[in-house]
């Protein structure tokens, strides 16, 4: 099994090298227009130069917005999710709002929020937070709901108080779904952050993407995209690590979902 997996990785690496090699050669020989498809080494060169220059600052802005949005969106969603999962009354009163607001593409709220909150960080953070809110809420709620009644019965029979049931059964039992919610919320916060930055921000990776299109600096465009891809992969890897640490009882397969 491990052997076949590593074989699959070798194949993937080979295909990637071949693809980038062909691109490099084609771009350098003029088969591909170096203006629209600059060679991979050119893109890496630009990325290095830009990181040494101002790109790190833009990266920090974007990550700040992602974390700010998670803090404002996913954390309250986590708490509300638990409250809804534990109390049918809370769930009944919150459900209508969730059903009404969840289907709205959160980005569509940006113009209205700019009218209400003014031009600046507030409407951006609100949109990112709204994007992160719902996946976290719904997954946390499901996490609490799917806890087996058998486990609650067993804990109760051994004399567990409600507080002990919360701490020893419901909290750990909901961890897998909470982690899934966190992964979806983070991905959505990242996506939304890039999008709002393209819509009128002067800093951040999204703004840099937009600027490089407007100035037709395709090498910068590719460089920023590369950086975004690397961040996306790193976020996934970080969350997998968090899952392994936070929920060591999950199988490797479940933890990777």
């Amino acid at each position: 099994m491990t052997h076949r997996l590593s074989e699959g990785r070798r194949t993937a690496a080979f295909v990637a090298v071949a693809l980038f090699g062909a691109w490099e050669v084609a771009s350098r020989s003029g088969g591909l227009s170096p203006t629209f498809m600059p060679a991979p080494t050119t893109v890496l060169g630009t990325l290095g130069r830009e990181l040494a220059g101002g790109l790190v600052g833009h990266l920090a802005m974007t990550m700040g917005r992602v974390f700010g949005g998670l803090l404002l969106g996913a954390v309250p969603a986590l708490l509300l999710g638990f409250a809804m999962g534990l109390s049918p009354a809370v769930q009944r009163s919150v459900d209508p709002f969730v059903s009404a607001l969840h289907p709205i593409p959160k980005l569509a709220l940006l113009p209205l929020l700019m009218v209400l909150l003014g031009i600046g960080e507030a409407p951006r953070l609100t949109v990112i937070a709204a994007g992160a809110f719902f996946p976290m809420l719904l997954n946390t709620l499901t996490g609490v709901r799917q806890i087996s009644g058998v486990h609650i019965d067993v804990a109760r029979s051994y004399g567990a108080t409600n507080k002990q049931i919360l701490r020893r059964v419901i909290l750990p039992g909901s961890v897998p779904m909470v982690l899934t919610g966190l992964r979806l919320a983070t991905n959505l916060a990242f996506l939304t952050a890039i999008a709002v930055e393209m819509l009128g921000a002067s800093d951040g990776l999204g703004a840099q993407l937009w600027l490089s299109w407007q100035t037709l600096r395709v090498d910068l465009l590719f460089a920023v995209l590369t950086l975004i891809a690397v961040i996306g992969v790193s976020i996934s890897a970080g969350l997998r690590l968090l899952a392994r640490r936070g929920a060591p009882w999950l199988s490797e397969h479940t933890a990777q979902i």
């Binding site: 486990h151 804990a155 029979s157 051994y158 004399g159 750990p172 009882w249």
Partner: protein, 277 residues
């Protein structure tokens, strides 16, 4: 309550009369359970009454859907009966250990944490309960798995942990709902023997729900044979076989009892099949 006892020539050590003077540790009187259903109410249990002495091992057998598990949940206090009551020799419900068919162990706790859960709920300090659980794990042959999670164990091992947790908790009342129902026949024999051994050492009051008649006779002092829905107690059968018992050595004596019980159950099992088509 119907109360007939089957006597066999081979054994007959305890007489019900001698024990009648003892205060029962658990008494169910006139228990009924009704569930609201789509086509009117469904009566799961009707006028169930019996009492169990301390340290007794009592099994409940019956056709599927006869309300065995409902009865167990009512005794555990997890569900209220529609009518009737459960009372305990003392005033309030004693500490209870519940064992289920398969997924009773907590997936997020290691074997040792699962074993120690009952002690943890009683407020025993961490080091002490850890030491006791480790000691118990070694005795159950779980020594090398103490830091494993249930996912990493076979179903048989998980059931060992679940049963061990119940005994280790020191709860005087143990309720088991088909704990060996998901095991293959050979693993089941091994675990039945183990259960008998730990039970003989500690002599807790055990109420054991099963659909396996051989298992019920092998393990129990008494077997309550239930009817099909609505569940009533058809007969209270004392198993007068000397302990320690062995499922294969005592096969012939056990079969006398199971044959008798099957005759009681067969019509209900057949009509249950007919109803479900």
């Amino acid at each position: 309550m119907v109360s007939g006892t089957l006597r066999t020539a081979s054994a007959g050590r305890t007489s019900p009369e001698a024990s009648a003077t003892e205060t029962p540790a658990l008494t169910c009187s006139h228990l009924s359970a009704v569930y609201p259903g789509r086509q009117g109410d469904v009566q799961a249990l009707r006028d169930i009454g019996f009492s169990i002495r301390d340290r007794e091992f009592v099994s409940i057998v019956g056709p599927s859907g006869c309300g065995k598990s409902t009865l167990l949940r009512i005794i555990a206090g997890l569900q209220q009966p529609t009518a009737g009551s459960v009372s305990f020799g003392g005033a309030s419900r004693p500490g209870t250990g519940l064992v289920f068919q398969e997924h009773g162990t907590f997936p997020w706790m290691t074997v040792v944490e699962n074993l120690a859960f009952g002690l943890e709920m009683q407020g025993m300090p961490r080091d002490e309960r850890q030491a006791r659980a480790l000691d118990y794990a070694n005795r159950l042959g779980l020594g090398q798995f103490v830091h494993a999670f249930p996912r990493e164990l076979s179903v048989g091992m998980r059931q060992r942990v679940d049963i061990g947790r119940a005994f280790l908790s020191g709860a005087p009342l143990l309720l088991m709902d088909e704990p060996f129902g998901a095991l293959d026949a050979q693993t089941r024999w091994v675990l039945q023997e183990e259960l008998l051994r730990i039970w003989l050492e500690s002599r807790k009051l055990v109420v054991f729900v099963t659909h396996d008649l051989d298992e019920a006779v092998l393990l129990s002092d008494r077997v309550l044979v239930m009817s099909g829905r609505p569940g009533t107690i058809r007969q209270d059968v004392s198993i007068d076989l000397p302990r320690p018992r062995d499922s294969r050595r005592d096969h012939a004596a056990i079969r006398e009892y199971t044959w008798h019980m099957w005759q009681l159950l067969e019509p209900d099992v057949r009509s249950g099949l007919a109803i479900k088509g």
